[in-house]
Amino acid sequence: MSDNNDRNKMQVSNLNMYYGDFKALEDITIDFASCCITALIGPSGCGKSTLVRCLNRMNDLIEDSRVEGSITLDGEDINRPGYDVISLRRRVGMVFQRPNPFPKSIYENVAYGPRLVGIKDKEELDYIVEDSLKKAALWDEVKKNLNESGQRLSGGQQQRLCIARVIAVQPEVILFDEPCSAIDPISTQKIEDLMAELKKNYTMVIVTHNMQQAARVSDYTAFMLVEEQGEPGRIVEFGETNTMFTNPSDKRTENYITGRFG
């Protein structure tokens, strides 16, 4: 896959990641194909979230975290000194495990990102808010009460509001860090449908501990594992989702997806 560079939106090669002295990830090499969904699966604590947080440098917020190796976005190293983290985070959006709308109105939640880049024009903001909510498949449910608190919505609606909030920033990549682990099955279904729809325009990465979900939504899957406690997380196998789930090449992957551990 790595020979096909222009199809790859982001590329990670030989990445090591540390929290202080603790090595959390080792020798991670993986490509994220444009306009595809890549799933990261594996048991708890295998470094899936850590890896995804390297992609928009959210790990910067943790003291003493550092990386070795390279991560590129459109061929440019995002850890290069002087690289603009703010613009990186606008290009690589993130949806978190627990829905985390701000304690503001639905409208203000979605308008938050656009306001950050200085958009003040009411009409333009109105348009972005409506457009983003439509793309997040939430518009019809909330169009009559845009001024209500975003936190009064149900968990599933809140998560779609968070997706709308990300879309409003017009990112190129969207990272989903276990987006459905805190919401009910029907809402999960809606979010999976939404992801399939968004695939046309966005490159997406989803961390999930739910193998069925990975099989349903993703084009590519990476299986990660921590071999022994205290060791770093590594990628055991990475490939097309279909192949991975029907004919895994590594015994450990097979054991995991057939439910023998994890």
């Binding site: 703010i86 709308p101 701000f102 503001k104």
Partner: protein, 284 residues
């Protein structure tokens, strides 16, 4: 004895202890209001001018002094303490420096008010050659209140879930924008509620007032540089120094007025906090 019986016993005991606490409070309030409430609501008393020699003096300028002093102190200490709290909670890396700041704050918080009063007097009256005035009192009082205000503001900031900060940063906001647009508005009701205790303390503080603001004025103070006589100090003065024949009535009335004022400020602060928490969830 079976578990249910023990449980019932325990709740009865704690109910009784709760009642004692409530009873003491009720007794104090009823006692003070009973002695002074009628006097407190007599217009010639709460709006009238004080007299130095004859009976029938009022406390109008003293009420204004009290509110003025509270306002001025808050104007100084609120921005400073919230600013420092933002630094400690949002920007500072935990280390020797922050531990040192906290140690200083805790030490400052346990210094008796009379020590601050002496410091204020030395600083403003002797060193800067001011006369006693509201501003000197407010500056001294701000020092006295800084530790409590700062700590409660810091606490309120720390209660804001990290998921809000993460969400904001992941959308491309820098730290300051995140603080300004998400963290502070979310913490504001808590920060405001945290001012209730310091507000009460400013109103009730007499040592600082006696040394830096003054204990007797005839006219309503206008300028921050004019001498004033907040109630707590005036009550002490009337009880121990004044020669007016009706000093007992003035002290009782003054105490009742002070109590009512504290209730009002407490109530007002809570309303303000509620207003903020409603507004923040609706946008803005």
């Amino acid at each position: 004895m079976d578990a249910r019986k023990t449980d019932r016993m325990a709740s009865a005991v704690f109910w009784f202890i709760g009642c004692i606490a409530l009873g003491i409070l009720a007794f104090i309030v009823v006692e003070i209001l009973g002695r002074g409430l009628i006097k407190a609501f007599t217009p010639s008393f709460f709006a009238g001018k004080p007299r130095a020699l004859s009976e029938g003096g009022g406390i109008g300028p003293m009420i204004v002094s009290t509110i003025y002093l509270v306002f001025l102190t808050m104007l100084i200490s609120f921005p400073v303490s919230v600013g420092a709290a933002v630094y400690l909670a949002e920007f500072a890396r935990e280390g020797r420096f922050t531990r040192f700041i906290r140690f200083c704050l805790d030490s400052l918080g346990t210094v008796p008010s009379i020590v601050f009063a002496i410091f204020g007097m030395t600083m403003f009256m002797f060193y800067l050659n001011w006369r006693t005035c509201l501003l000197a009192g407010a500056l001294t009082m701000a020092l006295l209140n800084l530790p409590v205000l700062l700590r409660s503001a810091e606490e309120a900031l720390r209660l804001v879930p990290d998921t809000y900060r993460e969400a904001s940063m992941s959308l491309g906001a820098d730290r300051w924008t995140t603080v300004k647009k998400v963290v502070l508005p979310t913490a504001m009701p808590g920060i405001i509620t945290g001012t209730i205790l310091p507000l009460g303390r400013i109103m009730g503080e007499s040592a600082v007032v006696i040394f830096t603001v003054g204990v007797f004025v005839r006219a309503i103070p206008i300028s921050p540089f004019s001498p004033a006589a907040p109630l707590a100090g005036y009550i002490w003065y009337v009880q121990s120094e004044a020669i007016v024949p009706d000093y007992r009535a003035i002290v009782n009335g003054g105490a009742a007025v002070l109590l009512v004022l504290i209730f009002l400020i407490n109530f007002g602060t809570r309303r303000l906090a509620k207003y903020y928490s409603k507004r923040k969830s609706l946008g803005g």
